[in-house]
Amino acid sequence: MKSSETILKCHKIIGGYGEGEALVSHEPICFYLTDPKTGVVREKGHELAGKNLAGKVLVFPSGKASSVVQIDGLFKLASHNVAPKAMIVKDVETVLVVSAFMVKVPLVDRLERDPFEAIQTGDFVKVDAEKGTVTIKRQ
């Protein structure tokens, strides 16, 4: 099978490097509504319900929910080693920055193309926040 590679520029918020399979959510994400031990999304009716965030490059529009639960949610995932490897978002807010900072997961926004057009679930994605690049390999 032919595979193609695309490199896109992005804006670094939390630095670092992370790679993995992309998991795309068109709905905002609340990390508290996942299983802290496995990374499986437990939020009823969410498009990612039943999917696993662990080790993925998570592509989503924004965070949601109160600061305490959001930050504690991602923190619990990270302490069980099931947090995403990197996060690509459209609209960032203070709480999401704090969440990513606490667990040292690279967080980027302002992809030069719409991330929901450029990335599909299952693509292999490398996020180099320091260089400001996202590399997408379709498999």
Partner: protein
């Protein structure tokens, strides 16, 4: 973001590792919002919560030798000694997290207020002050009622700002971002504190994120009514600021609140919408095991009201009765005689404690009653009925909600 020499030095670690970590977080937030620079703050409020994430960050700063540069108050965790004496089954690991959190906030030199309404007594901003206040009722109260300026902070970003004494200039620190978004026409009577609770719940749910501007409010809302509105609009939504022209301070007119722009939407609130919101919250009736008041922490006036309603009465044997408040308020309530009346009726007045803490594990499978939808929202309990204070007191005496 442009950093001044001194800020660069902090970021390089020349002022200690703890302050460096605080600065790193503030720079990340500044970069996320393309803030041009940092601005000094005069006070902060960290919504400490006694959770593991809270512990990690405050210990990171404390162990790195950081100290708060400006007055920085703290949110409730729980009164460890009080609950240890009452219950011997609070999970040891969770109690240990709470203990370490409280100790670490002391080490960073925070004001140990353990109150979610610090803007009433322990840490009060003035009009126009630039501050960093986290906590759902604190952010909108400070912006709207007091007219100080704060973003919707997380506990960690507020603590970092308190340690560095600065915050990135973005969001609600910029005047045009403080513009009203939604026009809310109030046609409901808004008789009491609970009506403001319902108004907050309804408006938060309707608009989600936004800055509502109210018309049709016919009298000055009380402190307690405003606190309830602030807290509840951040349970169902995310309201960091609002205007009631004529009563809140920052804009004299509706036009000024919208900065001359047109609202993105208009919503009318009548008694019918409030009644609907109330019905949504009152899901069950029957026997209750506990009553929990003081989410957000009760003011002295509210503690007085509880004492008045309980004076000479006896709480039902099968019901535990709790009033959560700040240490400052309890001291005054003790001195004034309210605590005595409540305790004689069989109730507890407890300080430093939030509804969402492991100390309440005794009620995990119990049915309770409260006047606060926020208390019900945390879901630490089997079921929680939300109703007016008078109904809660009546149910506490009878042992059931009818």
């Amino acid at each position: 973001m442009h950093l001044m020499k001194e800020e660069e030095r902090i970021l390089k670690g020349e002022c200690g590792e703890g302050t460096q970590k605080a600065m790193e977080l503030l720079v990340a937030i500044g970069d996320a919002y393309d803030a041009e620079k940092m601005i000094p703050i005069s006070r902060a409020h960290a919504a400490s919560s006694g959770q593991e994430g809270d512990l990690y960050f405050v210990e990171l700063l404390a162990n790195g030798g950081a100290r708060c540069k400006v007055p920085t108050s703290t949110n409730p965790v729980y009164d460890i000694e009080y609950f240890d004496d009452l219950f011997d089954f609070i999970p040891k690991d969770e109690a240990e997290v709470a203990r370490r959190v409280m100790e670490a906030y002391k080490r960073v030199g925070a004001i140990l207020s353990w109150s979610c309404v610090p803007y009433l007594a322990e840490n009060i901003p003035l009009y126009g002050e630039i501050v960093a206040f986290s906590e759902s009722s604190a952010t909108p109260y400070v912006n709207s009622v007091i007219g100080a300026r704060t973003n919707r902070e997380a506990a960690q970003s507020a603590l970092a700002a308190g340690v560095v004494g600065k915050t990135p200039k973005y969001g609600l620190h910029i005047k045009e971002n403080r513009k009203g978004t939604h026009l809310i026409k109030v046609e409901a009577a808004l008789k009491d504190e609970f009506d403001y609770t319902l108004l907050g719940y309804y408006v938060g749910k309707q608009i989600g994120y936004g800055i509502p501007v109210f018309t049709g409010v016919t009298r000055q809302p009380s402190t307690e009514e405003l606190i309830n509105f602030c807290a509840m609009s951040n349970v169902s939504g995310a309201i960091s600021m609002f205007y009631i022209p004529g009563f809140t301070i920052e804009a004299k007119t509706v036009k000024e609140a919208f900065q001359g722009d047109t609202p993105v939407d208009e919503i009318t609130v009548t008694d019918r919408e409030l009644k609907q919101a109330c019905e949504e919250l009152q899901t069950i009736s029957g026997k209750i095991d506990f009553v929990m008041l003081g989410c957000p922490h009760y003011t002295l006036k509210q503690v007085e009201e509880v004492a008045r309603l309980l004076d000479g009465k006896k709480i039902h044997d099968g019901v535990s009765f709790w009033v959560c408040t700040s240490a400052t308020t309890k001291m005054l309530a003790e001195r004034t005689g309210y605590v005595d009346i409540i305790e004689r009726a069989g109730g507890h007045v407890v300080v430093d404690t939030c509804i969402d803490e492991p100390c309440w594990i005794a009620y995990k499978n119990k049915v309770g009653m409260t006047d606060s939808p926020k208390c019900a929202y945390y879901r630490r309990f089997k079921d929680v009925i939300v109703s007016r204070l008078q109904d809660c007191i009546e149910a506490a005496i009878k042992g059931k909600c009818e």
